[in-house]
Symmetry: C2
Subunit: 156 residues, 2 copies
């Protein structure tokens, strides 16, 4: 049994995201889950997600880190508040800042693993560190500064 | 007359990139040009490039900044070397680090403008600053640390 993903709990209005929206048929549909204190996700790049032949496109890597990071931020906020994920007004986070260090070229043809941990959780802000690996080797390391979505985005 | 884009000069082997490869029919096909000391590009997000309804997906913004940044790095390296873009072995850059500050939500339904400038050019490394605007308002600011492509990627 695979546990539900964080993104399964996003209300429909917030499930349109190109990176992680379950209702966006064109998108990446990233799905993130707790594994103890870490949040994990896997993603298999499509053949056209390439930079140069044989290697994964860096913008895809940034996108995976971004959505896995904001999903982890939301899940951590629920956990910290001791709230069930379907109860009450949804916590939904957006990215204030994204940083990615590309440590080595990421090979195509193998699933990518994302592993995130919460570095800081304070008020409306959560800082999440994310490692992206291929074949057991860390290829990129990122940091996502996530903030609770401003009201002007929620009323769009 | 629209001048040729930097990416028009990439050899076919390097024109497969999801972000800026002219030979990747699934990709974004970003095209960057000089405008004096700045490099500019425009991109019109597709309806599915959304975060929440009405706003552009942050991973797309990161991808645009990344490819416009590395394209600018390559063009700046040619200019600094006083070389024509079709002559000799190609300069091609990859991203060592990417940082994006999301200053405000980026609205859908209007073309995005990217404006880059070279902050540092030294040896095999070029640092490029990029601003992304919508409707005349800067929505995101990024920095790309680009390095000349390692040989192990060129022989893939």
């Amino acid at each position: 049994m695979t546990p539900d993903a964080f993104q399964d709990y996003y209300p429909d209005d917030y499930a349109q995201c190109y990176g992680c929206g379950r209702l966006n048929p064109h998108g990446l549909q990233i799905r993130s889950r707790w594994d103890g204190e870490h949040a994990v996700a896997t993603f298999e790049p499509r053949p056209y997600h390439t930079a140069v032949p044989g290697f994964v496109y860096g913008g895809l890597i940034a996108s995976l880190i971004d959505c896995h990071g904001t999903g982890t931020a939301a899940a951590a906020a629920y956990r910290a508040a001791g709230r069930a994920r379907r109860a009450g007004a949804p916590f939904r986070f957006v990215t204030a800042a994204l940083h990615v260090d590309y440590l080595r070229p990421t090979p195509m043809g193998t699933p990518l693993t994302l592993r995130a941990h919460v570095k800081e959780l304070k008020g409306r802000k959560v800082v999440v560190g994310v490692e992206l690996s291929a074949g057991g080797e860390v290829c990129a390391r990122g940091e996502v500064v996530a903030v609770q979505m401003p009201d002007r985005m929620m009323s769009a």
